[in-house]
């Protein structure tokens, strides 16, 4: 895993430094800024050195868990990331939970009642969600639920006087603010998982051992819960594993529309400003989590499917 991480980080470092443009040019397109000032800055940031030297300097610091300082505002990269993390994490975990606890039952039930009105209705419903651009849905729901009805706040994650609230009110206030984003985010992602579980469930129901179970007269609840559900979870685990790195990533468009100070905007702004240390920090964490997610998924496979064994 470590060589993989180093490889990923080296390639990313190279790519972002090869991209045209530099942090100094972005912020300083201003006739009041002299040539000397700009060169001064290049030197200050160490951007006058060759790329491989810059990489090794960066790597040395990373080994000490020092992600360096942002070139834009001079703050520690680690603290910039940490302050964004909780919001993104909460929203993503909440929507993941909603997606799981809605999509899987929906999928299973429409599989069980294949061809029924319910099945057709959910199919249409989840595909509408899939096809609706989230920014459009976001704006519509803000306009309707926020401006017209006034049920939800429009944007942001806390009220103006949040700091003066007692703790329970803070929690409620926060949940109230993120409910619209979480709902909109979940709606669009129902389709994938519900379709997966539906298809897989249908496939399993067609298997001989299930037919045998029915034939020998076991109650259907027992067949479903004991025998049919477990194989359905295999693809679900894959998806779960794949969504671990996604937990930390936010969508730029989404966060911009809801004014959520999350990771997606942090990364986007970092790239636009060519804030190399920040971009690298985010990429390394992302790479690490992807590997971790795969690893966890592998472990879960063993649990769900005893046939899978990993030899040493």
């Amino acid at each position: 895993m470590v060589p993989l991480l180093i490889g990923i980080s080296f390639i990313s470092f190279l790519v972002i430094h090869l991209a045209p443009g530099s942090p100094v040019s972005v912020s300083l397109f201003n006739p009041k800024i002299s040539l000397e000032a700009r060169e001064k800055l290049n030197k200050l940031y160490g951007l006058d050195k060759p790329v491989h030297i810059q990489y090794f300097n960066w790597l040395k610091n990373i080994l000490k868990f020092d992600f360096g300082y942002s070139l834009v505002d001079g703050r520690k990269v680690s603290s910039k990331i940490l302050e964004r993390l909780p919001v993104t994490l909460t929203i993503n975990i909440l929507s993941l939970l909603i997606i799981f606890f809605t999509a899987i039952p929906l999928g299973l039930y429409s599989g069980w009642r294949k061809g029924s009105f319910f099945d057709r209705f959910t199919t249409i419903f989840v595909f509408i969600g899939f096809a609706t651009p989230s920014f459009w849905l976001a704006l519509l729901s803000m306009q309707f639920l926020g401006v017209k009805l006034g049920w939800f706040p429009i944007s942001g994650i806390t009220s103006i006087d949040f700091e003066y609230f007692p703790w329970y009110k803070k929690v409620l206030d926060f949940l109230w603010h993120i409910s619209l984003p979480v709902l909109v985010a979940s709606f669009g992602s129902l389709a994938g998982l519900s379709r997966y579980s539906r298809e897989k469930f249908l496939e399993v129901l067609d298997k001989e051992y299930i037919r045998t179970a029915f034939a020998k007269g076991l109650p259907s609840s027992q067949i479903i819960y004991k025998h049919a559900l477990k194989p359905v979870f295999l693809p679900v685990i894959t998806i779960l594993g794949l969504s671990v790195p996604g937990l930390l990533g936010g969508s730029v468009i989404f966060e911009t529309i809801f004014s959520i100070p999350g990771m997606g905007r942090l990364f986007y702004e970092g790239v636009m400003m060519r804030d190399y240390p920040l971009i690298m920090g985010l990429l390394v964490i992302g790479a690490f989590l992807t590997l971790l997610g795969n690893f966890l998924a592998d472990l879960a496979y063993i649990w769900a499917d005893p046939r899978i064994k990993y030899s040493k």
Binding site: E36, A37, S155, I160, S259, M272
Partner: protein, 530 residues
């Protein structure tokens, strides 16, 4: 006696009937988040806006855009402007209680010219030969030669010596995220990408402002920002022309907000690469200027919320020449000039050629600015009508600066300048400013303009300086290194509950400390802890 009594009543009447209630907060919606709250490092407008509440300069612009004293009580120019002596206000306190003095001015100056300070503002201060502290409240500044834009540069916020003296790196300092200034509001809290909260400075040297808190909410999406306005989530926000003209017809808006329209301090232009053989001749550039209908562009792109630009100065500037008329839209004149320059439709395909070479060029503009892309498209269509082929290329900002502008790899660029209040445009049009990272990237060179630009920098008398700039304006317009397109209006709205707002030439923020909200209408009543 009776008369006297009446006089007494009436003179106090406004105060009796309209006591200026204190309290409440103003929520300012901002598209961009500030980066650093140290005035000498802040190069983005969002940072500068927040800094303006926390810090004071030695000078400031009053409501009619004249320079007046701020931290300086008065100033005098000596030796034909080579020397400026500032007499500072006494008894001004920093937010931590220390007294402001000449040493802070000296410290700010030293930081500005320190090579280790990543400041965009060092240019004007490097023309200073010597800064001398005459006493605790008097500073004498000697320039290498008379430098009239120098006064404008002293509007920069002064930073406290006693706090920052030991700071090695200003940008990384704690101070850049929790600044201490002398201004009407004290910094309280900054939640990244979310909001910045300022609270009133009870001891502000002019008076205690009436409004208790100033809160900046960062809302990066313009559509969301407008919905927040409708829901009264923000009190002040910029508007797009479409929002200003149409969306603001919504009843929620009309009931609670007033709209403001000002010409902005910026202009949009098409810059020619003057070293390109195609644009070497003045006639070609003048022809293009005749061929583009700017009124139509303004109507289509800004829905009419703008003005045709007649040169590098905007109508709010004292250097602006109201009598100067821009060239009219006339495709015929354009065609005549082009044929004089040798362009004819030789092969009858509807496009112009010169010696077999078709008249064809590319407009490059930056990504993320839809307005500019639309302008480019309209220019493309209008030039096609007189037989010129135009292509459009949109490039990401960072690449745009490094690869296109610095390396001069363009034929034309569509860009905007926003300028400081001082009309000095030496850096953009003087022929000495053409090295790769200088700002005369079009390569403009007119000895007469050069001479006038230098002279204007040395002239302190505003009447005389204005005449110089008006001549410069005419010369530049004649030469057309840029095609001057438009000056957009800056459009915004403000919640109606604020009283005492008096729009003037300088906008409506200049008297913010006098604004107030009647108790009954206050929206944010939480007693904040100081």
């Amino acid at each position: 006696m009776k008369n006297f009594f009446f006089f007494f009543i009436f003179s106090f009447l406004p105060y009796l009937v309209f006591p200026q209630d204190r309290g409440d907060a103003i929520i300012i919606g901002s598209i961009a988040s500030p980066r650093v709250l140290i005035p000498i490092l802040a190069s983005d407008s969002a940072s500068a806006e927040v800094c303006s509440f926390i810090f004071n300069g030695l000078l400031k612009y009053d409501k009619s855009l004249n320079l007046v004293g701020d931290l300086a009580q008065s100033w005098q120019e000596e030796v034909e402007g080579k020397v400026i002596i500032f007499h500072l206000r006494k008894g001004v306190l920093w937010h931590d209680g220390e007294e402001f003095s000449a040493y802070d001015v000296e410290f700010t100056y030293k930081k500005l010219i320190d090579p280790d300070t990543p400041t965009p503002y060092s240019g004007d201060f490097e023309r200073i030969e010597n800064l001398e502290i005459l006493d605790r409240y008097t500073v004498k500044i000697t320039y290498k030669e008379p430098f009239s834009p120098g006064l404008d540069s002293w509007t920069i916020g002064i930073i406290p010596k006693h706090i920052l003296e030991k700071e090695e790196n200003l940008l990384n300092s704690e101070f850049s995220r929790s600044p201490i200034g002398t201004g009407p509001y004290k910094f309280k809290k900054w939640i990244a990408q979310e909001k910045i909260e300022l609270v009133v400075n009870e001891d502000y040297f002019e008076k205690r402002p009436n409004i208790d808190r100033v809160i900046f909410r960062i809302i990066p999406d313009t559509a969301t920002l407008f919905l927040e306005v409708l829901a009264q989530g923000v009190d002040n926000a910029g508007l797009s022309p479409l929002q200003f003209l149409r969306h603001s017809q919504a009843s929620q808006f009309k009931k609670n907000y007033i709209k403001f329209r000002y010409p902005s301090n910026s202009f949009l232009y098409l810059g020619y690469n003057l070293n390109n053989p195609l644009f070497k001749g003045k006639k070609v550039r003048q022809a293009l200027n005749y061929a583009v209908n700017k009124e139509e562009i303004i109507k289509a792109v800004l829905l009419g919320e703008g003005k045709v630009s007649t040169g590098p100065f905007t109508p709010e500037s004292w250097a602006y020449d109201p009598d100067f008329k821009p060239a009219e839209f006339s495709p015929e004149k354009a065609k005549t000039l082009l044929s004089q320059a040798g362009f004819k439709d030789e092969d009858g395909d509807g496009f112009l050629e010169r010696e077999g070479e078709p008249f064809k060029f590319t407009i490059i503009t930056n990504q993320g600015n839809l307005e500019r892309q639309r302008v480019a498209e309209i220019i493309q269509a209008q030039l096609r009508n007189i037989g010129i082929k135009v292509e459009i290329k949109v490039v990401e900002w960072s690449v745009f600066i490094d690869e296109i502008i610095r390396k001069r790899k363009f034929e034309t660029v569509l860009l905007g300048w926003s300028l400081s209040r001082d009309p000095d445009i030496y850096d953009i049009f003087h022929s000495s400013k053409t090295s790769p990272s200088d700002f005369n990237f079009v390569g403009y060179n007119n000895p007469e303009v050069d001479k006038l630009l230098v002279e204007a920098r040395k002239t302190f008398d505003r009447q005389k300086r204005r005449q110089l700039y008006q001549r410069i304006n005419r010369l530049i317009y004649e030469d057309q290194p840029y095609m001057f397109i438009y000056i957009p209006n800056s459009l915004s709205c403000l919640h109606k509950r604020f009283r005492g707002v008096k729009p003037a030439k300088a906008g409506y923020w200049y008297n913010f400390i006098d604004w107030w909200v009647p108790l009954k209408e206050q929206r944010y009543k939480i007693e904040f802890r100081r």
